[in-house]
């Protein structure tokens, strides 16, 4: 059988062509980029005798050192009590309820995690309140196309600025701290939830809305009697998924933008080169993050959320 008799199995469609071209461009970028990747003191190979600076190492040596550090971090974690300033509020609570362990280092690290959880909670709450209002206006079945697209453009703009920059913009007025962190983090939180909520609202059965409209219900009645009750499950689980993200963001903001909490402790441990303490803090963050991830995955499965 000659080749011309075979049925062409793979037809080059526009979609597969686009996929292949995009992948090729990205791969090319990667190969070119590898040549421009500046390691400063880290060279591909060691250059004995002609090192430009005393700190110069090879890629291999640096990787080996990192693995050693990771070993220290994960196999001998230890908290250094000196880095955890005792909160007066926490001490009062501990003495009031006889919780001796709260004054120990473990208690202090745990309290720092609670602060980060608090930052994440407030951010999620503010984001959810804003997103509930704007999400209704952004969903196509409840609002005019113009309002919907204006809000969606607004969300795209908000999402284009990284969270850390929002936090630092607000820190100019409010100073570094929880106020700037929560306000700054709320922007992305609201943007994410507006998108998620409005997509949930758009899935509400059009017949129900039409029936209420026909019976003379006004917009608020439609929202409170039909849209919110039927999408409450989605709304709550999306909110929890965002809370999980906000916890991670709050850790990062503690380290990079002075938001306080466990992220700040992590940053200070790095500043004092205390790898044992980095390990201790990382384990605690990992524990909280995995617990929340398990809960979020269950919610996602239950409501078949995408993303």
């Amino acid at each position: 059988m000659s080749t011309s008799d075979r049925i062409p199995l793979r037809k080059m469609t526009r979609a597969s062509l686009t996929i292949n071209i995009t992948l090729a461009v990205m791969a090319l970028c990667t190969v070119v980029g590898l040549f421009f990747l500046d390691g400063r003191d880290v060279h591909l190979f060691a250059r004995p005798g002609q090192a430009a600076s005393p700190r110069e190492t090879s890629l291999f040596a640096a990787s080996a050192a990192t693995l050693r550090d990771l070993g220290t971090m994960f196999f001998s974690p230890k908290a250094n009590a000196a880095h955890f300033s005792s909160d007066p509020l926490m001490e009062r609570v501990a003495s009031r309820f006889g919780l001796g362990f709260l004054n120990s280092t473990f208690g202090q690290v745990l309290y720092a995690v609670v602060i980060t959880l608090g930052l994440g909670f407030l951010t999620t709450l503010i984001g959810a309140i804003i997103a509930l209002a704007l999400g209704l206006l952004a969903s196509r079945n409840l609002s005019s196309p113009r309002v919907s697209s204006v809000i969606k453009a607004f969300v795209a703009f908000i999402r284009a600025v990284p969270t850390v920059l929002w936090v630092l913009i607000f820190a100019i007025g409010a100073g570094l701290g929880s106020v700037a962190a929560i306000v700054g983090m709320s922007f992305h939180s609201a943007g994410y939830l507006i998108k998620a909520y409005s997509e949930s609202f758009e899935e509400v059965d059009a017949g129900v809305i039409e029936a209420l409209e026909a019976s003379g219900a006004n917009w608020l009645q439609i929202v409170f009697q039909a849209v919110l009750p039927s999408s409450m499950g989605y709304v709550l689980s999306w909110t929890f998924v965002r809370f999980e993200i906000n916890f991670t963001t709050a850790v990062a903001m503690g380290a990079a933008a002075g938001a306080g909490g466990i992220g700040y402790n992590l940053f200070m441990a790095g500043y004092y080169l205390n790898i044992h303490e980095i390990g201790y803090i990382t384990y605690l963050i990992l524990g909280v993050a995995i617990l929340m991830e398990v809960a979020a995955t269950r919610l996602k499965k239950r409501y078949r959320l995408q993303g």
Partner: protein, 296 residues
């Protein structure tokens, strides 16, 4: 008036007897062991109030613990808007910085793409071992999921700090930190993509007697390719944003440029960085949305 009610109730009780249900709507519901509608509404109202109280309590607690000041947060808005308005238009002083900013931004974009591509290649291999239709054994799949969870849940800040110890402050350090973060995220996404799209085609090919590699290349790869590319585009976008943060910690890319201007009170320079980031991110988002429309 009240007497009349008492009498009426007494008559009703007498006429129906203690065992029969009273001739009311609610009685009818009770008799068929269904819940009366206003009972249901009351229960909903109670639950709603309870949830609201718990939320209020948690909010109060979180406000005290984090020392959050609601009024100060409202007051920060006019200040931030004024700052943006004053600095967002580039000046002579900030335009001098533009070439430097664009170079740094190009580096950041490049690092984001590189980290995504390399992480995607490795993550796809691991995802094949982790996804249900293609895994060699359930145990292997569990191990892969554990690895993914480990990489994903360790904060990128911790990776950046640990890497700085040996790699110093450089673009390479930022690249590795972003790579690790992307890797963990993509493994899970790819596993989900394979689970969702490939099980039917894999089963069909297995039934025809195709071997493992034939199934991978003829069934799995073609069916998940669009999803994989879509996730990669998403990762490039989000990496540019997280590269700003990582850059601040590892002293590289656009994050470092912003940090430098910000800490030296060169606010017009810092604002120009923000404007450049917005333009580039929106541009990339537009391109990737266009690609997504064609492929999905």
């Amino acid at each position: 008036m009240e007497d009349l009610l008492v009498v009426e109730r007494a008559i009703r009780r007498k006429s129906t007897g203690p065992t029969a249900a009273p001739p009311t709507v609610r009685g009818a519901y009770k008799a068929r062991s269904l819940r009366a509608p206003d009972d249901l509404f009351r229960r909903h109202r109670t639950r709603f109030t309870l949830v609201l109280l718990v939320l209020l309590g948690l909010t109060a607690l979180a406000t005290v613990i984090t020392q959050f000041d609601f009024l100060a947060s409202l007051a920060s808005f006019p200040k931030a808007v004024r700052w943006l308005a004053a600095n967002v238009v580039p000046t002579q002083k900030s335009l001098v910085l533009l070439p430097n900013i664009l170079t740094k931004l190009l580096q950041t974009v490049q690092v984001s793409i590189m980290a995504t591509v390399i992480a995607a290649a490795l993550a796809f291999l691991l995802a094949l071992g982790g996804a249900v239709p293609t895994r060699p054994s359930p145990l292997f799949s569990g191990v892969v999921r554990l690895i993914a969870s480990f990489f994903r849940n360790i904060p990128v800040v911790a990776w950046a700090i640990i890497l700085i110890f040996s790699f110093g402050q450089s673009m390479l350090t930022g690249f590795i930190a972003i790579f690790i973060e992307t890797f963990g995220f993509l493994i899970r996404s790819f596993i989900e993509a394979i689970d969702e799209t490939s099980s039917a085609s894999v089963e069909a090919l297995r039934a025809t007697g195709a071997n493992y590699f034939q199934t991978i290349f003829q069934a799995v790869v073609p069916s998940v390719k669009p999803m994989i590319l879509s996730w990669m585009l998403f990762m490039v976008e989000s990496n540019i944003r997280s590269a700003t943060l990582v850059g601040m910690l590892t002293g590289s890319g656009i994050g470092f440029a912003f940090d430098l201007y910000y800490k030296n009170f060169n606010y017009s320079g810092a604002a120009l960085v923000i404007v450049c980031i917005i333009v580039v991110v929106l541009l990339i988002e537009t391109v990737s949305n266009a690609i997504r429309r064609v492929i999905l």
